[in-house]
């Protein structure tokens, strides 16, 4: 709520844009940014190069009769969802407990943890992949060549996003006070974490999970250069033989990520309202 009052000032003093200026700027930008996506939609409805429109490419994708030609494609989509699930698992089982532990017992390490978690921004996927290639030759020997092993690397890629989502929630919850209160009422530590801390951190944990799913579904660099098949590499491959299906899948994937993030946004505002 403090943000709203902060903004009231500039508006009153005429330093924020007027309504007309605002909607002109937002309108023009929105139209320019909608054009490529609408073009993609228009393309997915084109009937070959004849200039007519058809929904055949949309219905064809979901037609069981086409299950065979699209089998590899659906397999790749399945791979992506498995990767997303394993990556979320890594965030929940490796990152989250560490963040709790550091928050409660090692306040001095907080800076270090934050630093580690934002390294993947400075060391982007295209650089990481050079060093991951030899690492994965070892991983394949231990875990086999299943696509899901790629999730180990994806867990690293999502660190900055997942860390930020959980940390912003952690900062707003008096973790130490809550756990001490629960402990003094006789709760064991598993109960404290499971029934006191996690319910309070639900918003941050959910946001971290969703953003992880969104990142993994959009990931291309590692999968393509480590020769694994996921949604994005499959879309690029299918675009050479059936560009309409590629367009449809691209639209669906973007829409899905948009909805996921919209849910995170709603979670955030609902949470803010209840805490203030």
């Amino acid at each position: 709520m403090s943000r709203a009052s902060k903004l009231a000032g500039p508006v009153r003093l005429g330093l924020a844009p007027g309504n007309v200026t605002r909607w002109i700027i937002l309108g023009v930008v929105a139209i320019v940014f909608a054009i490529p996506l609408l073009s993609l939609l228009e393309f997915s409805l084109r009937d070959g190069f004849t200039g007519d429109y058809t929904v055949i490419h949309w219905t064809g994708l979901f037609d069981p009769e086409n299950a065979r030609p699209y089998r590899q494609l659906f397999q790749a989509i399945g791979n992506s969802f498995v990767l997303a699930a394993v990556a979320v698992g890594i965030v929940l089982v490796v990152l989250l407990p560490t963040m709790l532990l550091v928050h409660m017992s090692f306040p001095k390490l907080r800076r270090v943890l934050e630093f580690i978690c934002i390294i993947p921004i400075t060391v982007p996927a295209i650089v990481l992949v050079v060093g991951l290639a030899p690492v994965y030759s070892v991983v394949v020997r231990i875990f086999g060549s299943g696509t899901w092993t790629l999730a180990f690397a994806y867990g690293i890629l999502v660190l900055p996003y997942a860390y930020r989502a959980i940390q912003s929630n952690l900062d707003g919850v008096p973790v130490v006070t809550l756990s001490e209160a629960a402990r003094s009422l006789g709760a064991s530590w598993p109960v404290v974490v499971w029934r006191v801390l996690l319910p309070n951190l639900r918003r941050g944990v959910l946001a971290a999970a969703f953003i992880t799913v969104a990142v993994v579904l959009g990931e291309f660099t590692l999968a393509s250069l480590l020769n694994r098949r996921n949604l994005q590499t499959a879309i690029l491959q299918v675009s050479q033989s059936d560009p309409w299906v590629a367009a449809i899948l691209a639209l669906l994937a973007l829409a899905f990520a948009f909805v996921l993030l919209l849910v995170i946004g709603r979670l955030g505002t609902v949470g803010n309202r209840s805490t203030s």
């Binding site: 003093l13 200026t21 532990l101 090692f106 974490v193």
Partner: protein, 313 residues
Amino acid sequence: MTVADTAALVADAAGETPRRHPVAGPAPLRRRGGLAKYLGLTPFALYVLLFLAIPTVLAVGTGFFSEDGSFTFANILGIFEPAVLATFGSSFWVSAVTAVAGALVGALVCYAMLGTKASGALRTIVDSATSVLAQFGGVMLAFAFIAAIGGQGLITLWLIDTVGVNIHENGVWLYQVPGLLPVYFYFQVPLMIITFLPALEGLKSQWAEANATLGGTRWTYWTRIAGPVLAPSFIGSLLLLFANAFSSYATAAALISQGSQIVPLQIRSALISETVLGRENMAGALALGMIVVMVVVMWGYSVLAARTSRWQR
């Protein structure tokens, strides 16, 4: 490791609180508790070591070795070959142009968002849309631009029909380096909105009030107060955008299937090339070159971000 295991570790970690062990001597317990606490950090430490630290060291290190494993500067010197330098040059100018254009348009959108409700529907939609377009587009955005301004694109055909202008008169440039500009611009603007909006919202209304009370105008407010306060944040965001474009691979890979005109594509060809021996080590050298640029840019970003946070306390 499950949540229960963690909880047990956390429980051990709390062994030093006297409430739990009122009788036992505190010193040995604290030591044991301390050890268990550190054990709780090992899964994450191990994971980061295996999949972040080692790959980074390998990526940077392989550049210093030849394919038979002996130490050499040949790959590093390879960066300074004119052909490779040219790709760094292309990467630089593509990143710089899209960063500046994206930052200006993004800042304009942030300005338009000023004064909207933080929990309103407009803000929620803009937040989600910017995140999707800035961070998860890659290949899909390349398709969208092929559908819009490719050889048979909607806009291309429309422009030919209505104004008679063929934007691809001298050949289709979308699959060349210039083709990266519109697509990169398309994900730079949303990233600018994500990073710059918080700074713009950090402007305190008291400053505007003080400006008004002292007889300042809208102009003096933006040039003498808001401008200087926002400058580090704006330049910091600009650097982040530059880094973002510089390290982006998916869009370029989807658009440019032949050749290696920018550094990430050069890494691609070094990695997948089977015809030229020892190219994998060249990939290491290129990765090193890229990391040097990224570290310098991100260092600048963090310095400027620290300056910005001074105002936001």
